[in-house]
Subunit: 274 residues, 4 copies
Amino acid sequence: MTQKKKNWQERLHEIIYEADTKAGKRFDVILLWLILFSIALVMLESVKELDAKYHTFFNVSEWIITILFTIEYIARIISVKEPSKYIFSFYGIIDLLSTIPKYISIIFGGAHALVALRALRLLRVFRILKLVRFIGESEKLAKALKASRHKILVFILAVFIICLIIGTFMYLIEGDESGFTSIPKSVYWAIVTLTTVGYGDIAPQTALGQMLASVVMILGYGIIAIPTGIVTAEFTKQTGQKIDINTQSCPNCTIGYHKDNAKYCYSCGSSLEK
Amino acid sequence: MTQKKKNWQERLHEIIYEADTKAGKRFDVILLWLILFSIALVMLESVKELDAKYHTFFNVSEWIITILFTIEYIARIISVKEPSKYIFSFYGIIDLLSTIPKYISIIFGGAHALVALRALRLLRVFRILKLVRFIGESEKLAKALKASRHKILVFILAVFIICLIIGTFMYLIEGDESGFTSIPKSVYWAIVTLTTVGYGDIAPQTALGQMLASVVMILGYGIIAIPTGIVTAEFTKQTGQKIDINTQSCPNCTIGYHKDNAKYCYSCGSSLEK
Amino acid sequence: MTQKKKNWQERLHEIIYEADTKAGKRFDVILLWLILFSIALVMLESVKELDAKYHTFFNVSEWIITILFTIEYIARIISVKEPSKYIFSFYGIIDLLSTIPKYISIIFGGAHALVALRALRLLRVFRILKLVRFIGESEKLAKALKASRHKILVFILAVFIICLIIGTFMYLIEGDESGFTSIPKSVYWAIVTLTTVGYGDIAPQTALGQMLASVVMILGYGIIAIPTGIVTAEFTKQTGQKIDINTQSCPNCTIGYHKDNAKYCYSCGSSLEK
Amino acid sequence: MTQKKKNWQERLHEIIYEADTKAGKRFDVILLWLILFSIALVMLESVKELDAKYHTFFNVSEWIITILFTIEYIARIISVKEPSKYIFSFYGIIDLLSTIPKYISIIFGGAHALVALRALRLLRVFRILKLVRFIGESEKLAKALKASRHKILVFILAVFIICLIIGTFMYLIEGDESGFTSIPKSVYWAIVTLTTVGYGDIAPQTALGQMLASVVMILGYGIIAIPTGIVTAEFTKQTGQKIDINTQSCPNCTIGYHKDNAKYCYSCGSSLEK
């Protein structure tokens, strides 16, 4: 009987985690549509006019989806060999977070809105569609971002300190009338301006304030070049490497990454040609 | 007679589709001005004050242009060998779409506004002016964009998911008073903010909301580097490859990376030509 | 006497057009301050409260500056050999445009505001300061922009056509209540949104309008990568060239732009070394 | 006794300026938290509602921090050999500026707000955390910015002149009703628009004004490519140079462009080492 149970577990694992079999593919497609439907539901539900009209429909649909997600979550746990590995994985936590808010909402009404967290489940789309090429691309992207994360952190810290200082000065220059009622609000304005968002809910009114604001804007307009420069240089390096360097490996020492026109291995000096 | 008709068809084809003959050039120039005039017309017509004053002039001009476009459309169909090929081509569909709304407007008044679709005809400008160099440039551009479309899609999907999640949080944090009345509206706000557009029609009012908004802005300010990095790396690769150095190797010493106009090997001095 | 006059003319030319002599340097510095003062004047004059208070001072100063600029203009004409060459040069036209409005304002009061055109005189700053390095840099910049002008034109045309089409759709979707009262206004909104400026004076109110607006914003956020990619690729190429290619010229055929490690001229095959 | 005093001074120097000893590390961590706390304090203090409630707490905390910073400042002076070198160093001036406003505020109440200048002390974070890698990255960044500072200055000057001219034109086109009440205000608007900030507090109302504004926006959207291009090209050069290829030439065939870790010439196979 253990044998039989194991078989059943393995079959479930194949359906849920893999997409090679017909059943596995069907499961993935259904799950994908379910996720999209559940997100659409939570968004429409938040529109008051629609909620007033179709409240019962929304509520019932929510419960159906929550139960289906619960079943999926349990199935995922019982079909893996090490359940704890799934539970504490990135996707495991997202799956849990997108399922429990509805249950919590029985006790705390406000928690219901948290169902929107299931938007995170969209990330599973990449997995489901087995978009190898897409993943490949995004991994390259992630690699470039990772390589430049120190520079970007330095940049963000610098931006934040600039906003802090400018915000303070604006608080001193502009009075309460223009909306600069406190330093945190002025810092908020500085961020809004430096990032070129520019809501306009707070805007300088005095001549001096507008001069400082102009400096902030030109600064913001200019320093956007820095993160762009960082990431682009990283990308260019990664993209450029391919042209010069090939993946041919030396028949003698198996070292790779030779220049395209190399005839001898740069590491051991033996010929690269047969 | 078939012979004669064929000649007539061929002559028409030459005038409409080519620009080598004098008549062909004249046709292209007239068509270009007609397109520009028709677009100006539809724009001015939408200005209520002008429409009230010159309604008859606008209406008559519209009909004249529509009839001229209809004649051109029919002429294009009868002068090609395979009419269906033109009809279902990109330009064929645009030509149809920019002609029929006026006819439909006889029955449905509202459809009239769709004449603005003829703005798409502007794309023909490229064809008419036979801007070979321009087309060449835009083809390079299109190639670079095509090569990076997977990365860009991953990026847009990620941006959209970020906006979804942030929008939901803002909906929970900010009340109805600030304009965050529903999740779709909050997501709309998140997009407005992340893309640094910043209308200001919806803006956070609470301290927590403004803090989250600041994070979104700095995020948006930073991640604009990603599409730029992707496209630039692609461009740099394409621009760099072609122009300077080729992969031709010296017949004497087999060294490569010669300048495109090199006649002698820069390493051993022997001729690169056979 | 002709000899004497020529000398006087030549001396004047040296003072005005060159900066090698002490008098020439002093003239340049005075002119620079005069330009800056004149621009400050015209700006402050436009502030109503200041104009009400110091109208006489502003008016007198304006006349003094105008007369000084007139003297300079005449001096420039008489001190060059071919006056017409100066008059129709870029700087000649700017000098004229920044001098005459005050005279015209005697007859037409409104023309007075045009004195602000003298802001263009600031461009002379580059000349005056003899910022060789700066000019060198800006010439490199201009070269890169010139090389990519076809691509940029294609891009701007495409952006404009996109704005035209989107503007039309928004005009059809949103009613007059949101501010989309005519197609030109809707196109204006599309430009405001696509370029991520986002004034907020016109903003979509309907759900469909906000969805389309979101698409426009993400589009605008993404396609900013294109001009950046174009210019950066051009810059990288120009900056990169220096590393690979030097300005050494072949002793045999005088051709330049050899690779840094070239031993033989790529054009004539003779040795580059002595 | 001089010996003893010297020892005491040296020990203090070690604690304050270095982070090798246990006491030194502890000092740095405490200082870091003190700086963060002092900045949080000054920000919260500026929020009127909080200040009304907790005024005494804020005032007392401020005085405690000011006294601690004063002690630190004095300790830094007496523990270095050349106090003047520290006092007039970048960090020395910041330390002073972030300490004295509270003392001045006894006499001038308004000066109190200047305590916010201590945000600058955050820069010390880099020092304290001994983030060698971070500093390394930011030095590379600073180097790239330094190398391109001439180009950027030319760019900013050009942007400012463009804004001056456009601002003047808008002042002439738009009347007082739209908010373009003076040339400085119009120039401010031009900067707000060109940098794609777009507050919307001043926005063109006439058709001609909106057309000019559209041109400014597209211009601003396009020329952001220039600083980005400049910085990116500089980054690419710096990042690219170091990592892949060096200019070492083969002692046998003199060919260059070897990989940094190459031991044999890729062209002739002879050893690259002596």
